[in-house]
Amino acid sequence: MVDVRRFLGDVRLVAGRDLRIEARSRVVAAQVVPFALLVLVLFGFALDADQRTLGTFAPGLFWVAVLLSALLAVHRSATLEQSDGTLDALRMSGLAPLALFLGKAAAVFVQLLALEAVLVGGLLVFYGVEVDDPALLIVAGVLAGATVAAAGTLYGALASGLGVRETLLPILLLPVLAPVLIAATRAFDDALGVAAVDGWAWTGLLAATALVATVVGALAYGALIED
C-alpha cells in the first residue's frame, strides 16, 4: 500500500509540475486556446458563415479543432523534458517511467479539458448550437480527452529529440486518433442534437480507445525514454 501511495504521489508530482509550469508560462492558455478558437473562426469563413451548415457540422469541426490544438499541447508537454537535460535528471531521480507517463498524460488531459470547455463555448456563440444532452457531452469529452492525452504523451516522447519533431508528430499521431475523431463526432452529433445517432453507444468505443491508449502508453513509455 505504501508503494502504491508513493507511486500515486509521483504521478501527482509530475502532473503538478507540468501544470505549474503551464500556470506560470501560460503557453497553452495564451497560445493554444486562442489557436483553437481561431480554427473555429476559420471554419466559419471557409463555410461562408452559413449558420445552418456550421450548426450541422459543428461536432466534426469541434473535434478537428481539438485535435489540431492537441498537437500543440502535446508538443509543448514533450518539449518540457528536452530543455536542460530534464529527462535525464528525472530518470536518475528513480522516478518510475509509468509514473512519469501517467503524470504527464494527466497534465495534458487537464489542459485538454479546459480547451474543450472553451471550444464548446465557441460552438454555442459562433455556430449557434444548443446542448441537448449535457451528460453525454461531458462523458464523450472526458473519454476522448483521455485518449488524446495518453496517445499524445506516448507519441510526444516518441518524436522527442528528433530535429523534425514538429513535422513528424502530426503524421504519427493523427492517424492513431482517427477513431477518436469519428466516435467523438458521432457522440457530439447526439449531444448537440444535430443528427439522430445513439451517442452513448459511441462513448463505448471512446472508452475502449482510452483504455487501449493508456495501457499501450504505460507499457511502451519506459522503452522510449531509456537510453
Binding site: 516518441l158 529529440g161 530535429g163 504519427l172 499501450v216 522503452a223 537510453d227
Partner: protein
C-alpha cells in the same frame, strides 16, 4: 536470412535471382489467367432474366485479394520483428522490421489503388467514405506512412529501432479491425463477405485466386529479401564509417602523444 556476400555487388544472389525469375513468370501467367483465361462474372437474374454481376471488373480481384493477404502477412512480420527488437535489441530484427514494414506499405498502397479501380464500375464510385474496411485500411496505410517517415529520421540507431517498434506495434492493432470489419459492421460496408470460406467460387476462378496468392507471395518474398539486404548493407556502411572514424581519431591521438613525447625529450635534451 543472411546478409549479402560482401564480395558481390548489389543485393542479388543465386537464390534471389531464381526467386525473382519465378515471380516474374508467375506475374505473366497470373495476368493471362486473370485477364484472358477466366470468364467475366456475368449472372442471369432468375425472374427478370437480366444480366447482372461484376462483369470484367471481377478480374481485378485476382490481384486485389492476394495483395491484401500478403499485405497482412508483411505487417505481421513487421510486428513480430518489432517485438524482437524490443526483446532482443539486435540489428537483425530491426532491419527485418523495416524491410517488412516498407513492403507492407507498398502492398497496402496497391491494395487501395486496385480496390478503387475495382470499385468504380462495381460500386459506381472511386471511394466510399461509409465503408468501414476502406477507412480502416486507409488508416493503416497512413499509420505506416508515419512509420516510414520516422524511420527516415536521423537519431541514435538503438533508440530509433525501439521507437519504430512501438509505432509498428500500435499500427498493427488496426489489422484485426480491418479483417473483422466486414462481419462486425455488416450494414456499414460494401465489401462482400468472404466467398472463399464458403467455397462459392470454383474451378479456374478458384485456381487463379490461389495462384495469385502464390505469385504475390513470391513477389513479397523477393522484395523482402532485397530490402532486407539493402538495410543490412546500410548497417554495415554505418558500422564501417564509425570504425573508420574511430581509427582516425585513435591515429590522431597516437600522433599527438608521440609529438608530445618527442617534444618532452627534445626539451630534456635542450636543457641538458
Amino acid at each position: 536470412m543472411a546478409g549479402p556476400d560482401e564480395r558481390r555487388d548489389g543485393t542479388g544472389s543465386r537464390g534471389s535471382r531464381l526467386l525473382g525469375a519465378g515471380a516474374l513468370l508467375g506475374i505473366v501467367a497470373l495476368v493471362v489467367l486473370a485477364f484472358v483465361a477466366t470468364d467475366a462474372d456475368v449472372r442471369i437474374h432468375p425472374t427478370t432474366g437480366e444480366e447482372f454481376g461484376q462483369f470484367d471488373a471481377v478480374r481485378m480481384l485476382y490481384l486485389h485479394v492476394p495483395m491484401a493477404v500478403l499485405m497482412y502477412a508483411a505487417f505481421v512480420v513487421c510486428a513480430v520483428a518489432s517485438v524482437g527488437v524490443l526483446l532482443r535489441r539486435t540489428a537483425w530484427w530491426d532491419v527485418m522490421a523495416y524491410a517488412a514494414g516498407e513492403v507492407g506499405t507498398v502492398l497496402c498502397g496497391l491494395v487501395l489503388v486496385t480496390g478503387s479501380i475495382w470499385g468504380r464500375p462495381v460500386w459506381n464510385t472511386w471511394w466510399e467514405w461509409g465503408d468501414v474496411r476502406l477507412m480502416t485500411t486507409l488508416v493503416l496505410f497512413l499509420l505506416f506512412v508515419g512509420y516510414l517517415a520516422l524511420r527516415r529520421t536521423t537519431a541514435d540507431p538503438r533508440l530509433q529501432a525501439r521507437r519504430a517498434a512501438v509505432v509498428a506495434l500500435v499500427a498493427v492493432l488496426d489489422i484485426p479491425l480491418i479483417n473483422r470489419s466486414v462481419a462486425w459492421w455488416e450494414n456499414r460496408t460494401l465489401h462482400q463477405q468472404s466467398t472463399l470460406a464458403e467455397f462459392k467460387i470454383e474451378d479456374l476462378t478458384l485456381f487463379t485466386l490461389m495462384f495469385g496468392f502464390l505469385v504475390f507471395g513470391l513477389v513479397a518474398w523477393w522484395l523482402l529479401v532485397h530490402r532486407f539486404r539493402v538495410g543490412w548493407l546500410e548497417q554495415a556502411a554505418i558500422d564501417h564509417d564509425v570504425a573508420t572514424a574511430l581509427a582516425e581519431r585513435r591515429s590522431e591521438t597516437s600522433a599527438t602523444d608521440l609529438d608530445a613525447a618527442v617534444g618532452r625529450r627534445n626539451d630534456g635534451e635542450d636543457t641538458v
